[in-house]
Symmetry: none
Subunit: 225 residues, 2 copies
DNA sequence: AATTATATTTAACAATCTTTAACGCGATTT
DNA sequence: AAATCGCGTTAAAGATTGTTAAATATAATT
């Protein structure tokens, strides 16, 4: 989960932002002044900072400057009521990545955050490489399901589905979710295609008594280990 | 020198921008409509694109979208007179990096450009001259794939494709993306040509059990290391 | 310019992957 | 209990990819 540091003294705005970002799957720590925010920054690990320029105790620029002394790369976005040229330029000089003036549109802020993270995360695409299923090892990259001599070469769809089941092991994997992500569609016809693949996976895994793909009627499937 | 592509139909603004950026040590190619700009983009190499949204022949969003099909990483900044929410969001959805509304301050634009480039250059996106593939070394410049005695002289297309696979190692290399960049086209017939080259590369790499080019059905290929 | 060599594309067929169709069974609802 | 719905399974149809060889295009050489 992406962690965001929010430095904002306005209670309403801070609360609003935190909740909005939470809904968008960002974990946000909210500090209401610059000093606390800096303490928080050195303690935790953040993927992005959202900093209001005008704050009591320590203003946003000062905070950003301090953050930059200990971290030169974390993305910083300034929030401000003032749209004066000098302020904007000051923000960029310090090493900010973006500058957005109040009142701003939440969705625009979200897109700006995502635009910056997209660039940062360019090479940060982490996915587990192997899963252990009883005696079998599932190599996601190579699309192999193997145990000693026995090696099943999986097709793309088999592999995608098995990976999704593994990610939700012992939990329900919803039909619609799987269909929308793997098949990019969830109409009735495509749904039958998924059933065919479930059958195929069950065949591969039938040698493993401890592993089972069970059906949750009307909802989806569950990989039980 | 950093090269900027400027797509702007307004003569005065275009001229002004080009001169301003030149003074700031950016080499700028200015195209006054979207179609010319796209032609220019595929011909040359640019570090950043500055695109006016409203242009004749081909508007800025359409241009950006075309650019994104052949280049997923070049930074794009939109310029526009409209500050409507929908427009801004559209720009980010396409994969833009920033969006600035006219009339804008030249200095602010400059800072935004620098903020983005700073981040891009941080990510160390230089392209290596050598890749290591198991026991083989792939020399991009000389188009050689060698290990001790064994040396494969690669043809241009073989080399371009292998390089592209290496740049996306362990990630999906989309068919269309490869076709558009290497073959400058992505029709059905050309696509088969790519398959032939995949076969050739697999032959060269078959001595290396740890290296494999796997197919992602309907999407592209992945070099797994 | 003609010839040779090399690189790339096209064509053809085989193999593999994915979807669709069909039928049967069991679960759920009426 | 009958009817409906969702799922399990298999086989065939449809699409994509793998591979080889011949045809064409491009480059190098005579």
């Amino acid at each position: 989960m992406t962690k965001i540091l929010l430095a904002e003294d306005d209670e309403n705005l801070g609360d609003l932002l935190k909740n909005y970002l939470k809904a968008k799957m960002f974990e946000t720590d909210w500090y209401d002044n610059g000093e606390l925010a800096f303490d928080g920054f050195r303690r935790g690990h953040y993927d992005l900072c959202l900093i209001d320029v005008m704050m009591p105790v320590k203003d946003g620029f000062a905070l950003a400057q301090e953050i930059r002394t200990i971290n030169k790369s974390v993305p910083i976005i300034f929030l401000t009521a003032r749209s004066m040229k000098e302020d904007v330029l000051e923000g960029f000089k310090i090493g900010g990545d973006d500058y957005i003036t109040k009142p701003f549109d939440m969705e625009e802020l979200l897109f700006r955050i995502e635009a910056i993270l997209r660039r940062v995360n360019n090479d940060n695409q982490f996915t587990p490489l192997y899963y252990t299923l009883g005696k079998y090892t599932f190599d996601v990259q190579k699309q192999l399901l193997q145990y000693g001599e026995t090696v099943h070469k999986l097709t793309t769809k088999e592999s995608e589905l098995l990976k999704m089941l593994c990610d939700n092991a012992n939990q329900l994997l919803e039909r619609n979710y799987a269909l929308k992500t793997i098949w990019a569609d969830d109409n009735m016809w495509v749904a039958r295609s998924m059933d065919v693949y479930i059958t195929k996976l069950r065949k591969y895994l039938k040698d493993e008594p401890n592993i089972e793909i069970i059906n949750v009627h009307g909802k989806g499937f569950k990989l039980v280990i």
